[in-house]
């Protein structure tokens, strides 16, 4: 396969995944801001949303304060924010168009259809109801993209490179939400069980579509260390770091087997997976959740760089 094609496939999947993540952040934030202040504390949820999306700098360069109007516009519709939902879909579609030949009709039509549909939402939405419908639509687009790829694409390097993009992005997103909210997950006796945090925890789980999964896995009310466990170490949970790395190792290996050659990407992915497999939540808390996550984000970026230099350029 052309290196450029692999690069386009990789970024196509990354941007679709990112669009979904942004939609989930916004949806969870809308829910939090709909609660009385007594239930969620006085923190500015819109500021947190910007931080979780990882674009504090770009945001503060344009706005002095974060509120519903400017954050929703910035994260969802702004043409100036390179990672707004609108731009994610635009870039995903540009990448898809460049590799039109490598995609199945179903996958292409999902992206192209979404891009056409995006125009219908114009430069923003008038009502909250409409906005929620928009966020739902973004998530459905991502599901349809994932589903059509899963159901229609040949299991060859085309599929594998797009999966690498998806899981590296997903791992980055999960790590990022943990990084912004880690202080709420620390086992601190004073806070545990307070109504203040309950809704924040629920919001975290909602952002990674794991609220129901949590109850299925632990059959307990929300406990911060269990939430951290679910998102970091539980390989059953599709957005956990452990699960992302199960998949990354699998797809890196598939590529290596097909090409008959191992390289830095394979070694790197395996090393990160092994670290996750050998970690216990208690130890992570002891040595510092924040430090653990920071290190993971760095490692995950390094895998992206290794894949890029080994295959994409």
């Amino acid at each position: 396969m052309l290196s450029r094609t692999a690069d386009n496939l990789y970024w196509l999947a990354r941007y679709v995944e990112r669009a979904e993540y942004l939609a989930r952040i916004l949806e969870a934030t809308l829910r939090l801001t709909a609660l009385p202040v007594a239930y969620v504390g006085s923190t500015n949820e819109w500021e947190t949303a910007v931080a979780t999306a990882g674009c504090c700098e770009a945001f503060s360069a344009r706005y002095s304060e974060a509120n519903e109007e400017n954050v929703t516009d910035f994260l969802a519709f702004s043409a100036d924010n390179p990672s707004s939902i609108r731009n994610c879909i635009e870039i995903a579609r540009q990448n898809a168009r460049a590799v039109r030949t490598a995609l199945t009709t179903e996958t292409w039509e999902t992206i192209n259809g979404a891009w056409l549909e995006l125009k219908r939402f114009g430069n923003g939405v008038a009502t909250r109801e409409e906005f929620l419908r928009f966020l739902q639509w973004v998530q459905e687009t991502s599901l349809r993209f994932d589903g059509s790829a899963y159901r229609t694409m040949l299991r060859n390097d085309v599929y594998w490179f797009s999966r690498l993009g998806l899981y590296i992005e997903r791992a980055d997103n999960t790590a990022r939400i943990l990084d912004v909210k880690y202080h709420m997950l620390l086992p601190d006796d004073e806070h545990v069980g307070g109504p203040l945090d309950y809704y924040q925890w629920a919001a975290i789980l909602r952002t990674v579509s794991a609220l129901t999964a949590y109850h299925w896995v632990y059959r307990e009310s929300l406990k911060p260390w269990l939430i951290a466990d679910l998102l970091i170490l539980n390989a059953q949970m599709p957005r956990s770091l452990a699960s992302c790395y199960e998949n990354l190792v699998r797809f890196c290996d598939a590529i290596a087997t097909a090409y008959g050659r191992q390289g830095p990407s394979q070694r790197h992915a395996r090393a990160i997976r092994t670290r996750l497999q050998n970690s216990r939540m208690q130890e992570i808390f002891q040595s510092g959740l924040h430090e653990f996550i920071e290190e993971f984000v760095t490692d995950n970026n390094a895998l992206g760089a290794a894949v890029s230099s080994q295959y994409l350029i």
Binding site: M1, R4, A6, R97, R100, T101, E109, N112, F161
Partner: protein, 472 residues
């Protein structure tokens, strides 16, 4: 201008045999069905992404070519004649190009004037004396044909560089079969879907001698901003070959390679959809960022086939066009099966004076123009335009040819007021390989959707139709 030939109906209104099935189907059809299907087709085209870009329109860079849901029908006996004529014409084009870049017999015989070749900006001195693999220059030709009466098809133009439109031929058929299964159950339509296979076989057959027994073919595109990008990606997909841009290809030791996830891979045949000028910044335009530096050196070393070859423009120029009957005769010793539109060469004084006297009856075209730009349609032009053109003609007569305004044939077409005749042309695609010439039956029919308009170009409001070759 004579009344246009109606392909569906005789002058007395009777339906011609070849259209009888379509006519019956149309008369059985519930109202609104056509309009419904038309909208469905538009939706499908947009959804599949069959768009083209219009240069100079920043606002809407991707537009649809309007698709007309009524097929254009040609009888198989008419097609047999067309087919023979197309084969003959493309053979002659190839022999002519080989001769011009080789022994130049036709120039020495005084049949084609030398300045027409050597002063032509698309003449490529780099090709002089270069033997291209298997002596084939034009591997893919699009020959534009118009019909003027029951027996006469004229060649309007030869496209020997990078003819486009074949993806529309293929997609139009797919969409028609999806929308009108009932109509297809009543007709046995000659298939076109094997075109990609025929094209791949053609391209592989012309690989250079230094290639392996299973040569690697790639399609070279200028990229996503090119107006025909959809077609490039569509064809690469159907052929199962890589769609490469200039930056994907590098030249090392007089071999062309593409960069892949598994390292460098040799390319033997490039189906290039990029003009000569932009092919190689070292050989042609140095400012081209689209091409591959060093590609011409690989070509000249005999390690690469370019389809089509470099410099084929000398054969499809509008000025050379008028010599095509003589060119066919010179190389093949046969009369041309397909006729040319009667053409006045303004370079010749008698012709020029005739043209200047009849400007308001004629169509005047620039010899190097294309896409319907830069022409004068005498009967439709106002006095000032004609006067301006007269001045242009006098100052540089060699730059122009003139033809009568043709009454292009018409086909039933879905328009706002219902089904009405509209003017059409036809572009069959001729594939010339080492082993044989391949042509899928039919081609791309273009239709002028505006009433009485003769301009079928998609850039100027033309649409397309599915084209059927039917046994009667």
């Amino acid at each position: 201008m004579a009344a246009a030939f109606n392909e569906m109906r005789e002058v007395d209104g009777r339906v011609r045999p070849v259209y009888a099935g379509l006519d019956r189907w149309l008369s059985d059809l519930a109202p609104d069905v056509l309009e419904h299907r038309r909208r469905e087709a538009e939706f499908l085209f947009r959804r599949i992404g069959i768009t083209f870009a219009v240069y100079g329109e920043a606002e809407s860079t991707e537009r649809l070519i309007p698709f007309d849901v009524l097929p254009r029908i040609i009888s198989s006996s008419e097609w047999a004649t067309l087919r023979a004529g197309l084969e003959q014409r493309v053979k002659a084009l190839n022999l002519y190009i080989k001769d011009v870049y080789g022994r130049r017999e036709i120039l020495r015989a005084g049949i084609v004037p030398e300045d027409l070749v050597f002063q032509n900006p698309v003449f490529r001195p780099e090709m002089n004396g270069l033997r291209v693999p298997h002596d084939i220059y034009v591997h893919i030709a699009g020959i534009d044909i118009v019909r003027v009466d029951a027996d006469t098809f004229y060649v309007l133009e030869d496209n020997a560089r990078t003819p486009s439109g074949v993806s529309y031929m293929l997609e139009n058929r797919e969409i028609m079969m999806r929308l009108f299964p009932e109509l297809f159950s009543r007709h046995r339509v000659a298939p076109v879907e094997n075109y990609p296979d025929e094209l791949l076989a053609t391209l592989k057959s012309v690989a250079p001698k230094t290639a392996s027994s299973d040569p690697t073919v790639a399609l070279l595109t200028p990229g996503i901003y090119n107006s025909a990008y959809y077609e490039h990606s569509f064809l690469a997909d159907r052929l199962g070959i890589e769609l490469v841009e200039g930056r994907d290809v590098i030249v090392k030791g007089q071999i062309a390679y593409m960069r892949t996830t598994e390292g460098l891979k040799r390319i033997d045949v490039i189906y290039r959809r990029i003009d000569d000028d932009f092919l190689d910044p070292l050989a042609f335009r140095p400012d081209s960022a689209l091409g591959v530096p060093g590609l011409m050196a690989v070509y000249q070393a005999g390690n690469l086939t370019l389809a089509n070859a470099v410099g084929t423009g000398i054969a499809d120029d509008k000025a050379v066009y008028s010599y095509m009957p003589e060119i066919v005769k010179f190389y093949l010793g046969e009369e041309s099966i397909l006729k040319n539109v009667p053409t006045w060469r303004c370079r010749e004084p008698e012709h020029l004076s005739y043209v200047l006297d009849h400007l308001d009856d004629l169509v005047i075209k620039e010899v190097h123009g294309s896409g319907g730009y830069g022409m004068l349609i005498g009967p439709k032009a106002d006095k000032a335009t004609i006067a301006a053109f007269r001045a242009k003609l006098k100052s540089n007569p060699k730059n122009f040819i003139a033809q009568p305004t043709l009454a292009l044939s018409t086909c039933p077409t879905c328009v706002e007021e219902g089904v009405a005749p509209r003017h059409v042309d036809l572009r069959p695609f001729v594939l010339c390989g080492r082993d044989k010439i391949r042509i899928v039956p039919g081609g791309l029919t273009r239709v002028a959707l505006k009433r009485d308009s003769l301009v079928v170009n998609s850039s100027q409001g033309g649409g397309t139709k599915d084209t059927w070759v039917l046994d009667v």
